[in-house]
């Protein structure tokens, strides 16, 4: 049995609910650390930033599922919905900490959303993810049919906005925000490349078909 096969069979033995439970507990654990003084002198910002990075990591992991299967052969498809749903949960927690613990004042929240581009960009990413979270169930997949796949391509602009949001928060060009952006660009770039290859193949096959008929 090859190395990839061994990984895949090990992954098959992990029930999906394990991922849900681990993902659900993680932000709660961070909240506990922040509340008990393990996150430094300014726990609110520390917690907020940690949750934001966690959400971006989960988004990136979700985008890794397809290329991992296509290029390496590792199959994470069983976990993809859980990764997506947890991503939305992490983003919501990040947003809640910002609203309730950080900004606190309602009028300031509105002003920030409308006047501060990095907040606007972050809110945009969040809003793009709302329909994805709502339709992450079997009923929606059946009901929407092919539209479901199209709808869930919203994750591409969402992750891009998330990466831009992270870069814009920094006072200087922060190296870790740039690394996230490079990874995001590679994952989206791979998809563009795949789509280009597919189109080229289709174009070739249609010309060969038309040649055959003449």
């Amino acid at each position: 049995m090859s190395f990839v096969d061994r990984i895949n069979s090990a992954l098959r033995s992990v029930p999906v609910w394990v991922l849900y439970v681990a993902g659900a507990v993680w932000p709660a654990w961070l909240l506990y650390l922040a509340a008990t003084g393990s996150m430094g002198a300014e726990p609110v910002k520390a917690l907020e930033h940690e949750l934001g990075r966690l959400a971006l990591k989960a988004l990136i992991l979700g985008l890794c599922v397809t290329p991992l299967r296509a290029v390496v052969g590792i199959n994470l498809i069983r976990f993809r919905r859980a990764i997506g749903v947890l991503t939305f949960y992490f983003v919501s927690a990040h947003l809640l900490v910002w609203l309730v613990l950080d900004v606190q004042i309602l009028s300031e929240i509105w002003k920030d959303i409308l006047k501060r581009p990095y907040i606007t960009v972050g809110m945009g990413a969040f809003l793009l993810m709302v329909p994805l979270a709502i339709t992450s169930n079997n009923w929606s997949v059946r009901k929407l049919g092919p539209t479901w796949r199209k709808l869930h391509r919203l994750v591409y602009p969402a992750v891009l906005l998330g990466g831009v949001h992270f870069i814009m928060v920094g006072k200087t060009w922060e190296i870790d925000a740039l690394i996230y952006m490079v990874v995001i660009a590679m994952l989206l770039g791979w998809r563009i490349w795949q789509a280009y290859k597919k189109r080229k193949r289709r174009a070739q096959s249609t010309t060969s078909v038309s040649r055959a008929t003449t």
Binding site: E42, V44, I105, E108, T172
Partner: protein, 302 residues
């Protein structure tokens, strides 16, 4: 002639006295400068009547990009910094330019405690019990020439001890500047300590500026050069983003940073549920300093 010891047993300082003095002088011994703070260290009329932030918070939550951009980076990396010996080059439009040893400077100035509000441009704030001396004492030591209008400052550039100078995207060395009247103002101090400790390295040891009515980045750390000039000096953050960081950088709740509001601030040390509080104009020093800016548009000159 036989060697005699002139000191008598009665000359030995009683233990209680030196313990007391040691407490007052704090770790100043480490600086080996003999800061004669002594009992003169009373409450200054310029001190704010506020509870200071804990030393642990003041010395663990820092912006000192010479050591990295993370808030904990300075506390993790600043131990590598050599602060003894230390001297300050004072040049430009002064009567007595030259290299001034820190020990010599401290022998000629009067140090006292100043409890100041400290407001970072990132909307967090602290109350810091600085120990230091008024900058005007140092400037008078060097003798300011008539035509001087500004004071420029520079931080040490030593990448082998300051790793951020190799990695962080700012133009080094860090520089800051004040108008001469701001520099001569009695609120403007050169600080050498916090509480009764010598200045922690992550807070800008051994000598840093503190201008309490301006955003924190104006209060340049680990100063090695002071230049008197007649032209507005370059300042690091202004060079990076002039629309976000003006030369004056007075704390002002009415002028937003382009990326965030400055109307409120978060006091450090309040934990997860600390309430935001309203930011005060000139960081609460309006009465003392507002007249410096009479007739100036504080939005244009932000």
């Amino acid at each position: 002639m036989a060697y005699t010891i002139k000191l008598k047993y009665s000359d030995v300082t009683p233990r209680a006295d030196y313990m007391n003095r040691r407490q007052l002088m704090g770790g100043a011994v480490g600086l080996a400068t003999g800061l004669a703070l002594g009992p003169a260290l009373g409450a200054s009329k310029y001190s704010a009547d506020l509870d200071p932030t804990a030393l642990e918070d003041i010395s663990s939550y820092n912006n000192f990009y010479e050591f990295g951009t993370g808030k904990g980076d300075p506390a993790s990396h600043a131990h590598k910094l050599t602060v003894d010996p230390w001297s300050v080059e004072i040049d430009g439009m002064v009567e007595r330019p030259g290299s001034y040893g820190l020990e010599d400077i401290l022998k000629k100035v009067t140090q006292e405690e100043r409890i100041y509000r400290f407001r970072c441009v990132e909307t967090w704030s602290m109350v810091v019990p600085w120990v230091g001396f008024e900058l005007n004492q140092l400037l008078n030591m060097a003798g300011v020439q008539g035509g001087a209008k500004y004071v420029a400052f520079q931080t040490l550039f030593r990448p082998e001890e300051m790793p951020g100078q190799k990695t962080v995207n700012l133009e080094w060395p860090y520089r800051e500047g004040l108008r001469l009247d701001e520099a001569m103002h009695p609120l403007t101090i050169m600080a050498t300590g916090i509480y009764d400790e010598p200045m922690p390295k992550q807070n800008g040891a051994p000598l840093r500026l503190v201008v309490p009515w301006k955003y924190g980045y104006k209060s340049i750390k680990s100063i090695v050069r002071v230049t008197l000039t007649d032209k507005e000096p370059q300042t690091t953050w202004n060079m990076l983003q002039p629309n976000e960081y003006g030369f004056y950088s007075n704390v002002n709740p009415e002028v937003s940073h382009p990326r965030w509001s400055q109307a409120y601030e978060k006091p450090i040390g309040g934990g997860l549920f600390a309430k935001r509080q309203e930011t005060l104009k000139f960081n609460g020093y309006e009465e003392e300093v507002a007249s410096l800016y009479d007739g100036m548009d504080l939005v244009v000159n932000h």
